[in-house]
Symmetry: C2
């Protein structure tokens, strides 16, 4: 984390640094479930309308961490579930996520997704909007086939909350009056809501009580908040370019993210004028990203973002306290640390 | 219908011409239910994210026929339903429809919707995509609150089918190799599937058996096919301009609709070359729409489209044969004729 952390945050978290990538180890532990989920994803993306599997194959080729379905699988196993329903529901969660990605890329006019050309860049915005709609509808078909109204309630609520978060983000874009609570509301909607739902669904299929469902929902929310904060930090991490990740996307789009809010609040008149011109006014020249990175470093905005993320990671780990201490719980806790310490 | 019908089709259908607008009379008969549905639509479009009700108010102001929710209300009453569940479900149907309209306008890059500026023209494509997602998710939340897995199955299947139809339409756009069966598959997906689901849901809430559900689904499918065929005809009806409707939208977008397929199939080499240039090549000059209208008239393509629509209208009426002869059934049958004879 040397590229990201200040000495302050280094002190705070040195003991929590995981030995490896917790998500990969969690995926390895649940390899059979995850393979079944991947098979379900491929099988259920099928359609006799050729463009749908064609575009879907592009998305599958682009990979992705399968983080959200992994949370469903892990939560179900943590709750002692021994059946197979969680596999189809994990696929639902991934479909909802993929649908939002497709629509996000249209909204953000992104050309890249996970380092590859985005679907909208290859197939056009129209196909991305419509295939997103298809995947969303297909997710609900799969949930109906599962037959749990609780699962349907959790994932339909999450879907509405995601859309609200995305609309709120659109409304606050380019608006430096956005405050921290509003920013948190955006990321709670656009990111944490699906993390929370993905986890809670695991408890529901296992037939666990309301307390266990709420605990896993809290874990997911906190994990999602930590992930999004770090995503926002990484977008201003100058050493990310070497990882094939585009740096400065959020800056160019005028997104009000945590590092910018911190730097703006702490900035002097001249700095605030810089942010107004580049973020509110959308007037950017070639050197502005460097200036933005410098101002963010001057006010330790990345460090403060990471501290916030760490707090959420701790909340996530606390939420799992009532579950038995087993390998799944251990890796889910480590995943919270990984959310903070990952480099991409 | 003098502007639309050829003498051949006049002969076929003169006896079926309804005295007034069956949909308005059906709406009047079900005025209490429809008012409750409108109230539910307004109430459930609410969100603390201001842009959502703001954009929604624009859509509500633009009006719309409330045709699909009316079908749910009418079908429920036809099936003897005396409860209130159909009101919320009619609102769900309208939300799904509105979501697809919002996404359609983004896909079609339309500036007008029902004679007013479209939501994407006023609020931008991004807001239209995201608010469409919100309405779709909200529809599923309402269905989950209703609690019928049958309703959820019907409307999630319809939603997936709509998206498939829209993707297929996108794939066939500008492609004159599209044949009639493929065209029917497009409109069965993009239009008839939701008509069918809207009707079937009415039978489900009334607790009717599979035969009644299937009969109302067939009615909705046939009615939707008739509506879409006539919509396609009206887009080439030169006298529509006076009604405030844009003529030639489909032509400009290169959409392969029934009248074009007929005119292309019947055209000589020079005419086919015209369609290839304007529809496949997308090269259009100011006089091309007039030429298109002339070729369509030459081959009686509007007349043939209307004959197809009439056949579907007859199927729709036949599907209601097993229901008791009451005012609702009478007006639902007349609605099938209205689908063919309407002017807008």
């Amino acid at each position: 984390m040397d590229g990201l952390l200040t000495s302050e945050t280094d002190t705070l978290v040195a003991s929590d640094v995981p030995a490896g990538d917790a998500l990969h180890r969690l995926a390895a532990l649940l390899a059979t479930d995850l393979a079944a989920t991947n098979a379900a994803i491929v099988a259920r993306m099928a359609s006799e309308v050729e463009l749908i599997p064609h575009l879907a194959a592009h998305l599958i080729a682009a990979g992705g961490k399968r983080l959200r379905p992994l949370l469903t699988l892990a939560s179900a196993r943590l709750c002692g579930y021994r059946g197979e329903r969680h596999v189809q529901l994990a696929a639902c969660v991934e479909f909802i996520h993929t649908a939002t990605l497709l629509h996000d890329d249209v909204v953000d006019e992104s050309d890249l997704r996970r380092g590859l050309a985005s679907a909208n860049a290859v197939f056009g915005n129209k196909a991305s909007v419509l295939v997103g709609d298809f995947l969303f509808a297909r997710a609900f078909e799969l949930m109906v086939a599962d037959g749990s109204l609780d699962v349907l309630r959790i994932l339909s609520n999450a879907s509405a909350t995601i859309a609200e978060g995305e609309v709120l983000q659109l409304s606050t874009q380019n608006d430096l009056r956005t405050d921290i609570p509003r920013y948190f509301k955006v990321i709670e909607g656009k990111t944490a809501a699906l993390f929370a739902a993905a986890c809670e669904v695991g408890a529901v299929v296992a037939g666990r009580d309301a307390a266990a469902c709420a605990a896993l929902s809290s874990y997911g929310t906190a994990l999602g908040m930590a992930f999004q904060l770090v995503d926002d930090a990484l977008d201003y991490a100058a050493d990310q370019a070497e990882l094939g990740k585009t740096v400065g996307d959020d800056f160019r789009e005028g997104k009000l993210t945590y590092p910018v809010l911190i730097a703006f609040a702490a900035g002097d008149a001249q700095e605030r004028e810089f942010w107004r011109r580049t973020i509110e006014g959308g007037e950017q020249t070639d050197v502005d990203l460097s200036t933005a990175l410098r101002l963010i470093e001057r006010h330790d905005a990345i460090g403060q973002t990471i501290v916030r993320a760490q707090n959420f990671a701790r909340d996530a780990k606390h939420a799992l306290a009532s579950f038995p201490d087993d390998p799944v719980r251990g890796l889910m806790m480590e995943a919270a640390d990984y959310a903070v310490f990952r480099r991409h």
